[in-house]
Subunit: 334 residues, 2 copies
């Protein structure tokens, strides 16, 4: 008979999690059935997404998380005894699994036997050779897509994802600026990982520091934090700048969801936001006008103007529009 | 001798513009030179961008704006007397121009003779057949790119751009929901322009009203306003939802630039923001891991783990990461 230790989700977090929000219990596991295996946790992951996703979890179930586990008993040929498996087995010491994602689990990714890491530790399957590594890899190569020579800023740069994202940008040939909250982190980024610059957002004026290290402006931003730090960075971006929003840890422990940063919503639903102004299409200006004219003639487009009489009344018309008093297009007849 | 009336920009706006922030003066214009023409304003535009851009204007110059003017004197064959010209001639009654954008002007678009509008009024060159019309046209077709059958929300829907953007989405075959602040506007959108639904954000609970008219969620959002309205809409978007950020009028008259909505920055610099999570690439999971493994072996990627000992210490490791105490990837050794 195997006893599993399990952390049960007892209370929704209010601000930063408290130890009493989770409860450690013991569970007796049944014997495994045909097609199942029993795995013992070797390394378990803690990740910021756990806080973010907790608001969508029911209470009373094991708290979510991935682990590297060793298979200690098996009736499934694909998962033999002695091999290491990566699975979303939650905060548990022992797990019975049929080779598929646990039933009813929030995460539907099936467990998998680790590929051959050579001499590297199996714990990397939770980091650089797992979800955080893939987040950095796909986030940089598929979403951010920086070009050689671009100036890239990474927030949460010393975190599990940020440090890898920055290194991949260096491989691509970018100038990489890491933002983090301690000198120890900064030294690691610059001295060990080859980041070009480090800014300590807790002790430095971020706006001025960015102007100093990136006088040419910022082309790409890999955002792990959201909030004020992100706002300051985004204000110094070049035209057509790109931002990959990976996380918003600065907001995860906010008590008032109303003030959660926009980024929080964007990550959950993988939204794409694009600012623009019409002068981008100056070279096709008449195409737009002639198409709209055509649609008006066909009866597909209608128009309405709010006309104010007299050049002297420009200001009145201007303010009225701003206050929402106008329907359609306000114009002033001179 | 021609006297021009001109509104001069006297004081930066503090919150909503005040009439005394501008000053109406008269200027004597010199005789026109070879290559120049003299134009008399017929219709002048007022637009929300004027408020947004005002923070970047020097004081003491004519306030910015476009107008439709009639050419009343000319020594330029491309701009003959009697024709109507569209130009960024500011808030002026009479303008001398050499056929190019005014020297040193914020806007570099050259003036142009209006195309043939048939029986339609020339004032439309400031609206549906001008900048607002093109903003809607290119914003929908190039940035938002809704597909037939998509559910699209338009904020500022009764405004100069929003009403056209919504109509173009109807031409494409979308379900279109307009947000505005009065019943009069709403009736116009639904009864005259063919919008499917209207929500009055001032009198209705926007969140609940959206759930009612768009139970299938929102695919695309054409954002003219920013702020709380946009946040509420974005919270109800479907996965991979797209947002074209055209303006942020809700923030233009905020006195504290620190609380300006993100959208403001995004429009100025035409930024692109994309939220993502890594499960989008589940089908290429091993590609990412194997590439990172390769880079580690080549010495191009480095890793660092912060290891906490003991399953019982899961919570400690979890909280530590959240509070920024971890360098690299935190894992717990069971």
């Amino acid at each position: 008979m195997v006893k599993a230790k399990v952390f049960i989700f007892e209370h929704y977090f209010d601000g930063y999690p408290k130890e009493t929000d989770l409860r450690l219990v013991e569970e007796e596991l049944p014997p495994i059935k045909e097609g199942e295996f029993l795995a013992e946790a070797v390394f378990l992951s803690v990740d910021p997404y756990m806080r973010a996703y907790s608001v969508r979890l029911p209470l009373g179930i094991p708290f979510i998380g991935a682990q590297v586990a060793r298979i200690i008993e098996s009736k499934n040929v694909d998962f033999p005894v002695g091999r290491y498996v990566l699975g979303n087995f939650d905060w548990r010491s022992h797990t019975i699994c049929d080779g598929k994602a646990l039933k009813g689990h929030m995460f539907t990714q099936d467990p998998y036997i680790l590929p051959d890491f050579g001499d590297l530790p199996v714990s990397l399957a939770l980091g650089i050779l797992g979800m955080p590594g893939n987040t950095a890899y796909f986030g940089v190569t598929e979403v951010l897509q920086p070009k050689k020579g671009d100036t890239v800023v990474i927030s949460g740069a010393a975190g599990a994802v940020g440090n890898i994202a920055g290194q991949i940008c260096k491989i691509i040939g970018c100038t990489v600026i890491g933002i983090a909250g301690s000198e120890e982190k900064g030294r690691w980024l610059v001295d060990e990982l080859g980041f070009d610059y480090f800014i300590n957002y807790k002790t430095q004026n971020l706006e001025e520091a960015l102007k100093k290290v990136a006088p040419q402006g910022i082309d790409c931003y890999f955002d792990n934090v959201g909030g004020d730090v992100s706002f300051t960075i985004m204000n110094q971006m070049n035209r057509f700048g790109k931002i990959a929003v990976c996380g918003a840890i600065s907001g995860y422990n906010e008590q008032n969801p109303k003030i959660l940063p926009l980024q929080y919503t964007m990550v959950f639903n993988e939204l794409k936001l694009q600012g623009f102004h019409v002068h981008r299409w100056l070279n096709r200006w008449m195409d737009g006008i002639l198409q709209n004219l055509e649609w008006i003639k066909e009866g597909k487009l209608k128009y309405h103007e709010t006309v104010t009489d007299g050049f002297e009344n420009m200001f009145k018309a201007f303010l009225g529009q701003m206050k929402g008093e106008t329907v359609g297009k306000p114009v002033v007849k001179a």
